[in-house]
Amino acid sequence: MSALVTTSLVKRFGGVQATDNVSLTVESGQLHAIIGPNGAGKSTLIGQLAGEIKPDAGSIELFGNNVTAQSVVARANMGLARTYQITQLAKEFTALDNVLLAANAKASSNFRFWASAHADTKAVDQSLAALAKVGLLDAKDRTVGELGHGEQRQLEIAMALATEPKVLLLDEPLAGMSQGESAAMIALLKSLKGRYPMLLVEHDMDAVFQLADCVSVLVYGRIIATGAPDEIRSNADVRAAYLGDEVNA
């Protein structure tokens, strides 16, 4: 079964068609990347998938269930995890507490008032494992403010992983990273590939062509091409609309 399917998704903001009949499918175990120039509607699309933005028309299915009318919380509890283009972390928390917050999210209500959250060894172990996975284990006791930009981006991923997701939405995980940090992040995403179905929105072409099983090109809210990385690279429309010289260089 496909992990995530959208059918003719439409979203308008005033006169702007931010999402124009977008139909795409993220197959189980696949990494589906979306590329597109600034203002193509990538973040709006992710927002609709996560449930933060209500589409005007069309539908979204998560593992065969129609979730178009479901809330952000309901979708998250069905296994949809996302990361943000602009990091969304609890700033005063340590790295571990951020991940622990995520690890505590599986129960739909968590009314445990007595024992310390740090005494829940299962959640703590799960959080440490997520931190280890992204390479932040040594930084677990540092607050978010003390982490570098790249580390904060890694923490974003660790939080998504700690919820034990069934599908990952990654909104520009490489945004603002140095070359070294990018390489580490690409290696991390590679290691996650196959384990989770992923939808990756990314600007970095090298990364996309290295990682993706399938690439969709979004221009002015519309998908102008979908295919394997090689097909997209050689697609004339795509080159005209977006890739330009970058592919030739």
């Binding site: 998250a76 969304q88 609890a90 700033k91 505590n104 008032f113 310390s116 959250a117 959640a123």
Partner: protein, 326 residues
């Protein structure tokens, strides 16, 4: 099971201050001796304000919900002593139970409405509800209306007699200790982690799958319950219940206490209550002694103190101290 939810660094300044403050309160009735009735009653008032502030702090400091209506729960608690007492129901347990049940119901309704909003709208809605309850109390003509209700004797807690001021003092001290301990545990528990996380980043908490509103509502009700207990104690201290206990100025004073002590610390409200109430008590005398002509202007000095705490100690008197306990 461990007694404390976190490791304590006994040499950290915060721990020292907390221990000194608690010991001072524990021995105060002995220290002031038998003619120290005034001081015992004053210290009881400090403890009761601290208790209400601990309640408010749970949602203000840890949940980011600025309620400008928490005095209404103090007032409700006070009337839950006053009104039954007028009908000759003297059992303190009955007063307490009534206060807790009514507060739970009221807070659930108010919280469910107010939590649909955030920021300024949340402040205004909590204030509006408090004002409504204030005028309900004013309209209770058979229970003193505007003038309030004198309470003939203190609540009867059976074996634990609070007829003497010292025993009432220790009841209030015990309530504060219990509230501090429970809120410390709750803040560090999974519930508290989610509550703090929702404050720090609501959008993220939702995206992780936390039903934020549900947690906030439970926190709001718990916080109101603590204020209601403070109200029960306050009515017993003053032997009086009045609409003025629910005035918005008291709600404001509770916010000042929480911020003065240190937002986001468990122990801060007690320090904040000591600072504010002691200054309110000594500044008028101090000003009168030094500048007799300006004795009504003592509030100016209090204002300056709050100004400098806000300016220099951004995290409040207790919150600015380093490490140790929360």
């Amino acid at each position: 099971m461990k007694l404390f939810p976190a490791l304590i660094d006994w040499r950290a300044p915060r721990t020292l201050v907390a221990v000194v403050v608690l010991i001072a309160f524990a021995v105060l009735p002995f220290a002031v001796g038998s003619d120290g009735d005034f001081y015992v009653k004053f210290a009881t008032r400090v403890l009761i304000y601290a208790l209400a502030a601990i309640g408010l702090n749970f949602i203000l400091g840890f949940g980011g919900m600025v309620s400008l209506g928490h005095a209404m729960y103090v007032m409700l608690g006070a009337y839950c002593v006053g009104i039954p007492m007028q009908h000759e129901i003297a059992s303190g347990w009955a007063h307490l139970a009534l206060a807790l049940v009514l507060t739970a119901v009221l807070a659930t309704v108010v919280g469910a409405v107010a939590l649909r909003t955030t920021g300024i709208a949340f402040i205004m809605i909590t204030l509006a509800f408090a004002q409504m309850l204030f005028f309900v109390a004013v309209s209770l003509k058979e229970y003193g209306g505007d003038d309030g209700l004198t309470i003939a004797s203190r609540s009867n807690f059976g074996l634990f007699d609070i007829a003497s001021n010292v025993s009432l003092y220790y009841l209030a001290f015990f309530a504060v200790l219990l509230a501090l301990y429970l809120s410390w545990r709750a803040v560090l528990s999974p519930f508290g982690l989610i509550l703090r996380g929702s404050k720090a980043n609501t959008r993220r908490a939702l995206a992780l799958g936390h039903p934020v509103l549900r947690y906030q509502l439970v926190a709001y009700v718990l916080s109101a319950l603590v204020c209601a207990v403070a109200g029960v104690l306050l009515a017993n201290l003053t032997q009086f219940a009045s609409p003025s206990y629910g005035a918005w100025t008291l709600s404001g004073e509770l916010i000042v206490i929480v911020i003065l002590g240190g937002l986001g610390t468990v122990f801060g409200p007690l320090v904040g209550a000591v600072c504010l109430l002691v200054l309110e008590e000594i500044l008028p005398t101090l000003v009168e002694a030094t500048f007799p002509d300006y004795k009504s202007n003592w509030m100016l000095l209090l204002g300056l103190f709050i100004f400098f705490v806000a300016l220099l100690l951004k995290r409040g008197v207790f919150g600015s101290l380093r490490g140790g306990v929360k």
